[in-house]
């Protein structure tokens, strides 16, 4: 048997031996990952299997750990945004905005309404992109490739809007302390209008393909279910928690960036299974679209950034002709901005749940300590529990319905 492959002190070795002596069953070990096309990221799980059934799982993580927290302790504040991009890279603007809002909370900066509304728009676009990827890939994993093809081009459209706003597409590094680096171009608004017109049609079609699809329902209902109590104990937040029936959403519980101005519902599921997670994400996309429409309709005129010359880079032409601007420019670029000694925590509702930034400053130009609360990292520890007793193919579906993003998991 598999004695050759496994060190005898490994806990699986004991289980295999016991079960073999007990009823002669031959358990096997399967190494799922680290690089496997079905896991959409670098996760390793060593599974103990009885035929097709998973008895135990042992996850190994950290394959793309990049020491962001250590790097952050050695970088001025504005250079940390690119690090946040690379956590949940499916919805980087949310991370960027979360980080700017953390700094604004630290520095007591009041952001103008227009910038807040623009932030809401871009964060909701990012949420749509995130949920769109998760749900369409879930379709691919259950064998339905068509839906993915219908909606995936709209991620491209969202990236084109990002491009109009900040010039980048995937790792956006968007915004500044106090607002945006430039006002949104008319082209950005035009592309947004086109998106708001075309995307709902495709999304409706996508929903129709899946929601009452016999095969999809068979593959997802009662697969990877988790109760609300269990989900809270494991620290679930975001759509995965709401699928279990708990209506906790940071946008409602602790509104930031003027979320209190918008009217939206927090969709919840019931059983916390894969199908509910899918439906909650679908519903959230509709809510996000509605929030974007409301924000566009109510979008106030005014400045797109706060008037904080000590933190916000001056226009380049002023730097050439104006002594004061030159000084500010130099100080900001060198990271020599005044920062109070404080400890703050700021949460935002990311694509996967509560992304938190715990920042300790000591008055110098870098954070003394910066900890990212990464929702993926916290809820992925429930994965072995969730796939216990499931089929191997269910494990893949559960993994993609949890939307575990390797970048966020490992930071």
């Amino acid at each position: 048997m598999s004695e050759l492959l496994l060190p005898p002190e490994h806990r699986y070795a004991k289980i295999i031996k016991e079960r073999h002596n007990e009823d002669g069953s031959e358990l096997s070990i399967l190494n799922l990952g680290p690089t496997h096309p079905a896991t959409h990221g670098i996760f390793q799980n060593i599974l103990l299997m009885d035929g097709e059934k998973i008895l135990e799982a042992e996850p190994t993580i950290g394959y793309i750990h990049r020491a962001f927290e250590k790097i952050a302790e050695n970088r001025p504040f504005y250079q940390i945004t690119p690090l946040t991009d690379r956590m949940n890279y499916c919805s980087s603007p949310i991370n960027n905005m979360g980080w700017w809002m953390t700094l604004e909370k630290l520095l007591d900066i009041e952001v103008p309404k227009r910038a807040q509304y623009l932030r809401v728009i871009v964060m909701e676009l990012a949420r749509i992109a995130d949920h769109l990827i998760c749900n369409s890939i879930l379709g691919v994993d259950t064998g339905a490739y068509t839906g993915f093809l219908y909606v995936f081009q709209f991620r491209e459209k969202i990236y084109e809007i990002y491009e109009e706003i900040c010039g980048a597409r995937l790792t956006t590094n968007m915004g500044r302390i106090g607002g945006f680096e430039r006002d949104w171009s008319p082209e950005a608004f035009r592309k947004l209008e086109v998106f708001l017109e075309e995307f709902p049609v495709a999304w409706k079609e996508f929903e129709n393909l899946f929601e009452r699809n016999r095969i999809f329902i068979d593959r997802t209902v009662n697969v990877g279910a988790i109760s609300a109590e269990q989900a809270m104990a494991y620290g679930f937040t975001g759509p995965n928690l709401r699928a279990a029936g708990v209506d906790y959403d940071v946008r409602v519980a602790q509104p930031y960036s003027s979320y209190e101005d918008f009217d939206f519902i927090v969709p919840v599921g019931k059983s916390g299974d894969t199908y509910d997670r899918f439906c909650v994400r679908n519903a959230e996309v509709w809510e996000s679209l509605s929030i974007i429409r409301q924000a566009l309709a109510k979008l106030p005129e005014g400045p797109y950034h706060a008037d904080v010359p000590e933190y916000y880079l001056p226009p380049k032409e002023d730097v050439y002709h104006n002594m004061e601007s030159l000084i500010y420019h130099f100080k900001i670029v060198m990271g020599e901005v005044p920062v109070p000694v404080a400890e703050i925590y700021h949460p935002v509702e990311g694509g996967n749940g509560e992304i938190g930034f715990y920042l300790v400053t000591d008055g110098s130009r870098t954070p003394y300590r910066l900890h990212f609360r990464r929702p993926c990292f916290i809820y992925y520890q429930a994965y072995p529990e969730m796939i216990k007793g499931a089929m191997l193919s269910d494990a893949i579906v559960i993994l993609s319905s949890l939307n575990v993003i390797a970048g966020e998991l490992d930071a």
């Binding site: 993580i61 250590k70 790097i71 809270m232 620290g235 404080a342 925590y345 938190g356 900890h371 609360r373």
Partner: protein, 173 residues
């Protein structure tokens, strides 16, 4: 009826006396310190008390303060959240620099399992009673604890890259 911070403080002081101290409001978060040996009792109390109900562990992480006196060189920071009243608190427990250890809360909050492993991985803080305290993000063969301040970020032999002007080095911090 929102949960008031002075109510939390009164309840804690009434139960734990001088083991909870340094109460203050930091921006939007109410925070305090706990004597490290009482941490599980305090967190269990906060979780189970019918009024306080801090039932959700948002975050757990470590901080290294090498310049403090020996007994306060590491801190473990707990962020708890009461969803019923929507109230957040932050708890800090300082522990010794030479022998950093604290009791685990993984039997109170399942979610702290990996967060404590991460803290152990990066700071070498020993969580007594943790079911599986081993490295999580770094490789098992590693011997140092990389988030400690004395651990250099770059290989000190490198000459092609100079972080002096941007980062925190031993020369400028």
């Amino acid at each position: 009826m929102a949960l008031e911070t002075n109510e939390i403080q009164e309840k804690l002081v009434a139960t734990f006396g001088s083991d909870v101290f340094q109460f203050n409001q930091e921006k939007d978060i109410f925070s305090f310190e706990v004597a490290a040996d009482k941490i599980t009792a305090v967190i269990l109390f906060l979780k189970n008390d019918p009024v306080l109900r801090f039932h959700f562990l948002t975050d757990l992480c470590g901080v290294h303060y090498p310049d403090n006196e020996e007994t306060r060189q590491f801190a473990v920071v707990y962020h708890l959240h009461n969803w019923y009243e929507n109230k957040r608190i932050k708890i800090k427990a300082f522990i010794s620099g030479n022998n950093p250890e604290i009791k685990t809360v993984s039997n109170i909050f399942l979610s702290s399992n990996w967060m404590e492993r991460e803290t152990y991985d990066f700071y070498g803080i020993n969580f007594i009673g943790h079911p599986q305290l081993k490295r999580i993000l770094n490789m098992d063969e590693m011997v140092s604890f990389p988030m400690r301040k004395e651990f250099p970020m770059e290989d000190s032999g490198r000459t092609d890259k100079d972080d002096r002007f941007f980062g925190r080095t031993t020369a400028n911090c």
